[in-house]
C-alpha cells in the first residue's frame, strides 16, 4: 500500500515488531473463559429486577419530584414515594473486581478526599449491581449507594465534577451495554451525596447525555435507521456532552453508519439543580474532525456526501483488466461466448463466468468493493448504449461463482426518472462506492449510498444533500 521513502525499512520493522508483540500472547495465556452463550433478555434476570427496583427506589425518591417527560425504560419499578427511601443495605460482603480502581474525590466538601470503593455483586454473568461505598472524612460515617452499570468488571470513575457548584464533588461512573454491538450507546451515572446516601442524579433528557450512536425515534425503515453521533466526558469539573446536529443513516445490523469525517455537533454543559436533576445548558457548537474538535465558524457544516468523484474507466468485449480492488488481486475480462460474458480470475475465482445482460456491457476497472463483506471479487457493469442499465456482480461467499446483486429499497439503481418525474443518476466514485443522486424540487440532489443488506441484495442509504452544476460531472458537486 505504501512505500515509505524516508525510512526504507520502517515497514519491515513495524511488521516484525507487531508480530513479536502479538506473539507474546500465547494460547495458554488466555483465560479459560466460558464460551459466550446467548443470554436471556436482561429484564428477565431476577438480579436485574432486584437491582432496578432498589436503584430506582433510591434514585427516584428524590430525583423525580417535579420531573416531567416521557416514560422511562425502568418503569417496571415501583412508583417512588415523595421522599428518599433507603435502599436495602446489601453488598457489604461483596468484593471489588480486580480491574476496578477506587475513586478519590471530596464527596462531603470538607477538603479531604474520600476513597470510594466499587463492590461487585457476584453473578455468573458479572453484570449485577455495584455497591458504591465510602467512609466520609467529615463524620466518619459510611455512605453508600447501589447502581447497575451493565457490568461489574473494571468499574472506574471519570474525573469528579461539581455540577451544582456547591463545593463538594459528584462521582461520575458510566454504563456498559454488553448487549450492544459497535456504537452501542452508554451513559454516565452521576452520584451525589445526599442525606448520607450516594444518590443517582438522572438527566432530564437521558438520550441527550449518552455516548455512541443514538437512534432517532421513528426513523427505522426496513434497511436503515438514523442515528445521532454522541459523546460525553468531563472537562475540568464539568460534565459535557456533544450530539451531532444531523442524524446519519445506519444500515440494519449496525455495521455501517454513513458518518462524515467532519460534522457539526451541539455541545452541552450539564448542571445539577436543587431537585437533583441534571439539566443541559444552552447548546454550544463545535466541529468534530478526526480525533479532535474545532470551534464553529459561521459557515461550518458537515462534510458533503463523498460523491464528487467518478470512476469512468471501463473495458468491453475482448478486453481485460486487473481490477482496482484494494489489492485483492482479481482480474476481469469480457468474452464473446455466444453473448458477452464476464470472466473473473483471482483468489477463489479461477475463470468464474457470468452472462452479461446489459446492452454493450462495460465493466468498470474500479471494483465496488464496499459491497462485499470480505475478500471477494466485485464488478460494476454499465452499458455503452443504455445509461439506465447498471448491474453489480460479485463472487459468492462460497466462491462457487458470480452472482448479480439485486437492488432493493426506496430508489432505483441506474439512471432515469422516478415515477413522480424526478431525475436520478447512479455512478461509481473513485473510492469504489456506488451512489445514486435523486433530484429534489429546489435544484438540490439527495445522495444515496448503496450497501449490502443480504446475501444477494443491496439497498440505498440516504447520505445527505448536495448541489451540482452538472450532475453528469460529479466533480461539480458543491454545498447548496
Amino acid at each position: 500500500m505504501t512505500t515509505h521513502d524516508t525510512v526504507p525499512g520502517i515497514e519491515e520493522r513495524l511488521r516484525a515488531a507487531l508480530a513479536a508483540r502479538a506473539e507474546l500472547v500465547r494460547p495458554e495465556d488466555l483465560e479459560p473463559l466460558t464460551p459466550v452463550v446467548e443470554l436471556r433478555p436482561r429484564w428477565q434476570s431476577p438480579w436485574v429486577l432486584l437491582a432496578t427496583a432498589a436503584a430506582v427506589l433510591l434514585v427516584l425518591g428524590i430525583v423525580f419530584q417535579g420531573v416531567s417527560g416521557g416514560p422511562r425504560s425502568d418503569e417496571i419499578a415501583p412508583k417512588p414515594d415523595e421522599q428518599l427511601q433507603l435502599p436495602p443495605d446489601v453488598g457489604r460482603d461483596w468484593k471489588a473486581d480486580d480491574q476496578s480502581e477506587p475513586a478519590r474525590l471530596d464527596l462531603d466538601g470538607d477538603g479531604t478526599k474520600e476513597k470510594v470503593e466499587f463492590l461487585a455483586e457476584p453473578t455468573d454473568e458479572r453484570d449485577g449491581r455495584t455497591r458504591v461505598q465510602t467512609t466520609l472524612s467529615s463524620t466518619g460515617e459510611e455512605a453508600f449507594g447501589l447502581v447497575e452499570l451493565g457490568t461489574t468488571i473494571g468499574i472506574n470513575a471519570l474525573d469528579p465534577i461539581d455540577a451544582d457548584s456547591d463545593g463538594d464533588q459528584e462521582l461520575v461512573l458510566y454504563t456498559t451495554d454488553l448487549d450492544g454491538g459497535p456504537g452501542a450507546p452508554f451513559e454516565p451515572v452521576v452520584l451525589d451525596l445526599r442525606d448520607g446516601l450516594l444518590v443517582r442524579a438522572v438527566p432530564d433528557d437521558p438520550e441527550l447525555l449518552a455516548s455512541g450512536d443514538v437512534a432517532v425515534p421513528g426513523s427505522e425503515t426496513e434497511y436503515y435507521d438514523r442515528v445521532h453521533l454522541q459523546t460525553f466526558g468531563v472537562d475540568g469539573a464539568t460534565l459535557v456532552s456533544t450530539r451531532s446536529v444531523n442524524a446519519f443513516a445506519r444500515a440494519a445490523g449496525g455495521m455501517t453508519v454513513l458518518r462524515p469525517e467532519s460534522y457539526v455537533v451541539d455541545t452541552y454543559e450539564w448542571t445539577l439543580d436543587d431537585q437533583g436533576v441534571l439539566r443541559p445548558g444552552e447548546p454550544g457548537c463545535l466541529v468534530q474532525v478526526p480525533e479532535a474538535t474545532t470551534p464553529c465558524e459561521s459557515d461550518s457544516a458537515d462534510d458533503l456526501p463523498y460523491v464528487t468523484t467518478e470512476s469512468t474507466d471501463t473495458i468491453g468485449v475482448g478486453e481485460q483488466v486487473a481490477l482496482e480492488d484494494g489489492g485483492l488481486g482479481y482480474r476481469a475480462r469480457v468474452e464473446d461466448q455466444g453473448g458477452p460474458t464476464l470472466v473473473v480470475d483471482g483468489p477463489g475465482a479461477e475463470g468464474s463466468v457470468y452472462g452479461l445482460n446489459v446492452p454493450e456491457p462495460r465493466v468498470h476497472v474500479v471494483s465496488p468493493g464496499y459491497l462485499v463483506g470480505n475478500d471477494a471479487a466485485s464488478v460494476l457493469v454499465t452499458s455503452g448504449s443504455d445509461p439506465g442499465a447498471m448491474e453489480v456482480v460479485v463472487q459468492t461467499a462460497d466462491q462457487a461463482g458470480l452472482v448479480r446483486l439485486r437492488p432493493v429499497g426506496e430508489i432505483a439503481l441506474g439512471s432515469g426518472s422516478t415515477a413522480d418525474g424526478r431525475a436520478y443518476r447512479s455512478w461509481l466514485t473513485g473510492a469504489g462506492v456506488l451512489v445514486t443522486a435523486v433530484a429534489g424540487d429546489d435544484g438540490s440532489w439527495d445522495a444515496w449510498q448503496w450497501v449490502r443488506v443480504g446475501d444477494t441484495e443491496i439497498a440505498p442509504l440516504p447520505w445527505g444533500t448536495i448541489c451540482f452544476d452538472d450532475v453528469e460531472d460529479p466533480t461539480s458537486g458543491r454545498a447548496c
Binding site: 513495524l14 468493493g369 470480505n374
Partner: protein, 171 residues
C-alpha cells in the same frame, strides 16, 4: 441461512482477535475484555451476521471499536493524559520484547488511534485497503493517506524515543 456458530468462532478466532486487541490497547487484560465483549455482542445479536465468512469481519470491527472505546475511557479516566501515557507495556511484556521491537511498539502507541488502527490492520492483520476501509468505516483514500501519515509519525515518534533514551543514558 442459519446463524453463525459462536462457539466455533470463539475457538477458531479468539487468540488472533486478542492479539489484534493487544496491539491496539497494549494491555493483555483489556484486550481479553475487548474480545469477550465482541463475542458477547455477536452472541446477543445472532441475526446480525448469518454468514460465517462475514462473522470474522464483524468481530474485527467490534474489536477495533471496543478497543477505541476502551482507550477513550481510559484517557478520560486519566484526565486526558496525553496518548503516550496511555498504555505502557506491562513489566513482563517489556522484559521479553526485544529492544528493537519495544521501540517500535512504544512509538506506535504515541500515534492517534486511527493511525494506529490502520497500521495494525495493514501490517499485522495484512488486510487490504478495501478491508481496512470497511473495518474502520472510512474511505480507501483515507486509509491510504492515514497510513502514509502514520508511517511518518511513527518514524518521528521513534526518533523522539531514541533521543529520549539516549538522553537518559547520558545522565
Amino acid at each position: 441461512m442459519e446463524p453463525v456458530d459462536i462457539t466455533e468462532l470463539y475457538a477458531a478466532h479468539r487468540l488472533s482477535l486478542v492479539r489484534l486487541a493487544v496491539l491496539l490497547v497494549d494491555d493483555f487484560a483489556s484486550a481479553e475484555d475487548v474480545v469477550q465483549d465482541a463475542f458477547a455482542a455477536l452472541a446477543r445479536r445472532p441475526d446480525a451476521v448469518r454468514d460465517t465468512s462475514k462473522a470474522l469481519a464483524y468481530l474485527r470491527v467490534s474489536v477495533v471499536n471496543t478497543a477505541r472505546s476502551a482507550l477513550r475511557r481510559r484517557r478520560t479516566a486519566r484526565a486526558y493524559s496525553p496518548p503516550h501515557d496511555l498504555s505502557p507495556p506491562s513489566p513482563e511484556d517489556a522484559a521479553v520484547l526485544a529492544e528493537e521491537h519495544r521501540e517500535v511498539i512504544t512509538a506506535l502507541h504515541r500515534l492517534a488511534p486511527r493511525q494506529r488502527e490502520v497500521l495494525v490492520l495493514r501490517y499485522w492483520s495484512n488486510l487490504s485497503e478495501a478491508e481496512i476501509a470497511r473495518t474502520l468505516d472510512i474511505s480507501q483514500g483515507t486509509v491510504k493517506s492515514t497510513a502514509s501519515r502514520a508511517l511518518v509519525a511513527l518514524e518521528k515518534a521513534m526518533t523522539a524515543t531514541a533521543g529520549s533514551s539516549s538522553g537518559k543514558e547520558e545522565r
